[in-house]
Amino acid sequence: MKWAFLFLTMTALGWSQSLGEKVFAQSCATGYCHGARGAPAGAPRLAGRGFDQAYITNTVMRGLPGTAMPAFGTTLSRSDLAAVVAYVASLNGITNPSVNLGPGPGAAGPVEKPLSPEAEQGRALFFDAVRGFGRCSTCHEVNGIGISVTTPIANIPADVSALRALSTPDVRTAKLDGEAMPALIVSQGKTRALFYDLTSAPPVLRTVEPSALKVAEGSAWHHASVVGAYNDTELASILAYLREAIKPQ
């Protein structure tokens, strides 16, 4: 979904303020940053500072370069952004804030449909921190979470056996300093070559002299070996998650 423009006029503050307060508590009043309800803490006081609406919106969306204040414009959903801007405005005596987030990056925000129970289970497995580097997200990013070693997942295998049999023609064999290793080539420029060494997880992004690197087609590396830590039921849940989470291209 593409949002060109979002214009919210908060006449009835009820819901938005309580949402804004919640977003503020979760994303701004986090102990080492601002205090609860805009009190001073690790970061400056926000209540009663006489900030105007535009300044608040701009700071929330884009952050303050050169300080620890991050840009939230691409990390919070549009509704959360609008609510938290309205909330900080209310802390500065603006009782009827007219929140104009404007067009911008990430305008769609992470709008997530609720997942089915099986897909939810698959999501937890995909990002399962208990598995350390043995989790899917060590190499795959889905909806902004995970490490994007590979290109985004576009074709979801039909079933578990297809997932286990997945061919990976992009994985080739790199020879460097007399050692052969499974490699995902990122770029081979005139001065530098970049590739992921897939010998062990997590993959290592190597930068080398192009002349030092020899690349051959094919590899003994198989996707099946890295999904081996998951059983069939778990892999089926993961596929269910991917089907729900990834929009057809």
Binding site: C33, A41, A68, T74, A129, R192, D197, P202
Partner: protein, 559 residues
């Protein structure tokens, strides 16, 4: 068990009679000076008699004013390696400050909203022809030491998930580089990870919190082990003779409420292993050899994540291999570093209201815990009697030197469910100055064996810079008003002071080039977290930020 430990001690003592040298010489090769973390330089050209002549010889402004400059400069073969909060790495001619190369990390991925991402960096590690550092988006990166060109990088964790990042300097141990991370307050399971310096490949990971089937797992209630904190967010030490890596671990999470993590009936016992502990790991495998938990069931955010100072000193006529370690509470433990045996403990802060005392065998008694629905005032505060900035040890005096703050806090305690990567303190703190005092910090010299304070220099505000000790019998540190100064290591008398123009929150080092000794200190008051949170206690003060390294030496004629 005791018999086994004694055997181990004997075997180690026979195999390795040699005492490792914790002093630095012409270089400053590691974060803590050497891997023994003394922050002590064997250079004595600058001494108690001539330090009054010390003058600045060059300065370097990093241009990265996002935060203050916290990095310990690393100096190897006349080249200084310095990193800034937004991950710019500079290689400088350490005699002149001339830039040899400059590296700028691309804009990092943003962290998880509501997680813990700290815009600061405490230093690089240099070894194997490479410069290693961690990033705010959890990469460990290796640059070519000569050119600054990236060699390899590896994702240690996903900042969008764990709510954590890397602020500590990595520790290089033989063919591996070991790094911890933050996130102990952000519903995350802390760990140390080792990678091979040569190619960045994974070597081992040690989780602070044991998984199912591992010893210590039973000290966690339900699933709380999955997100129970313990992040080892500072830099450890290494004893090459014992082949052991030592590290302090962070607090258990949620910080101020143990409802969701404490096993029923565990009150007053070891709990939530191995958080708030000192651990010894096999350097090759990362396997736990011993541990000593300093704050069982931590309820005060008293991380034990700080430096482990490895010293050898005689006790009752017998040379012992020791480890000196202070946690945030200011209680300082002396352990046998071969076995982990508790030898002694003492409290450097004068105000210690969170407990009534420590037993002869190192147990905390009279715990004053935060309570839901109440405000409980305790001292020291969650900012720490000492912050992450390091103490120093001089083998000439046998003393450790540490800056101690006398600040208290009002603690509140709540109970919320942990959500992966999100802030999960389960309560909060509000800093308060204790009544009836005129000074709120002091720089102390302590004998860790007799556990006696030898001297103390009171200061009216707080002290948050590391200490440097030298063979010139000098102790250097700085204050938030901008004074960088030298004291007599034996008496505490102030011998020299220089106004650096910005608050001191970094770690000074010493090195020499061509026979000339240099003292280098980063300057700039911290603009977030501890520095910014303590500043409002002194509203008439204006502690200035900045990001400048200032280097001092004796004038050429007088050295």
């Amino acid at each position: 068990m005791r018999f086994l430990l004694a055997l181990l001690a004997l075997a180690a003592a026979c195999a390795q009679a040699q005492t490792p040298d914790g002093a630095t010489h012409s270089d400053w090769p590691h974060y803590g000076g050497t891997q023994l973390s003394w922050r002590y330089s064997a250079l004595g050209q600058i001494n108690t008699a001539n330090v009054k002549n010390l003058v600045p010889v060059w300065q370097f402004q990093t241009g990265d004013y996002a935060e203050n400059l916290q990095a310990t400069p690393i100096v190897v073969d006349g080249v200084m390696y310095l990193i800034t909060p937004r991950i710019q790495v500079f290689a400088l001619d350490a005699a002149t400050g001339q830039v040899l190369w400059h590296y700028k990390y691309p804009t990092p991925r943003p962290g998880k909203p509501g997680g813990m991402t700290f815009l600061q960096n405490r230093g690089v590690a240099v070894s194997d022809g490479k410069v290693f550092f961690g990033t705010t988006d959890n990469y460990l990166v290796a640059l070519d030491q000569k050119t600054g060109v990236e060699q390899w990088k590896v994702a240690v964790d996903d900042p969008r998930q764990c709510g954590c990042d890397i602020t500590a300097a990595p520790l290089v141990v033989k063919d591996k580089v070991i790094v911890g991370g933050t996130g102990g307050d952000a519903a995350h399971r802390g760990y140390l990870t080792a990678f091979y310096t040569k190619n960045g490949r994974f070597a081992w990971r040690w989780y602070v919190i044991p998984g199912p089937g591992e010893k210590g797992h039973e000290t966690w209630k339900g699933d709380s082990w999955k997100l129970g904190g313990g992040a080892p967010w500072m830099t450890g030490s290494f004893d090459p003779a014992l082949n052991l890596v030592y590290w302090g671990t962070g607090n258990a999470g949620g910080d101020f409420n143990d409802e969701d993590r404490l096993v029923p009936g565990a009150k007053g016992k070891e709990a939530n292993l191995y958080t708030a502990s000192v651990v010894a790991l096999d350097a090759d495998t990362g396997k736990l050899r011993w541990y000593h938990q300093e704050v069982p069931d931590d309820l005060w955010d008293f991380d034990s994540a700080y430096e482990c100072v490895l010293i050898d000193r005689p006790i009752n006529g017998q040379m012992r291999k020791l480890l000196v370690h202070m946690n945030k509470s200011g209680v300082t433990f002396v352990l046998d570093r071969v076995t982990g045996e508790f030898i002694g403990a003492f409290s450097m802060p004068e105000l210690q209201t969170w407990i009534s005392g420590i037993t002869e065998d190192g147990k905390l008694v009279g715990r004053r815990e935060p309570e839901a629905g109440k405000v409980v005032n305790t001292c020291p505060s969650a900012a720490g009697a000492k912050s992450w900035n390091s103490m120093a040890y001089s083998p000439r005096t046998g003393y450790v030197y540490a800056p101690i703050n006398e600040v208290c806090n009002d603690l509140t305690s709540t109970s919320t469910e942990a959500s992966e990567g999100r802030f999960h303190a389960n309560g909060g703190f509000s800093f308060k100055l204790p009544p009836d005092r005129k000074t709120y910090s002091h720089l102390d010299a302590w004998d860790p064996i007799t556990r006696k304070r030898v001297w103390s220099m009171p200061y009216r505000y707080v002290l948050l810079a590391s200490v440097l000790a030298t063979a010139g019998d000098l102790v250097f540190t700085g204050n938030p008003e901008g004074d960088f100064f030298a004291l007599d290591a034996r008496t505490g008398n102030k011998l020299w002071s220089y106004q650096t123009g910005a608050g001191n929150r970094g770690s000074s080092v010493s090195y020499s080039i061509g026979g000339r000794q240099f003292i280098a200190t980063p300057t700039g008051w911290q603009q977030s977290i501890t520095g910014a949170q303590l500043a409002p206690l002194f509203p008439d003060q204006n502690w200035r930020g900045g990001s400048t390294l200032i280097v001092f030496a004796l004038p050429e004629a007088s050295k």
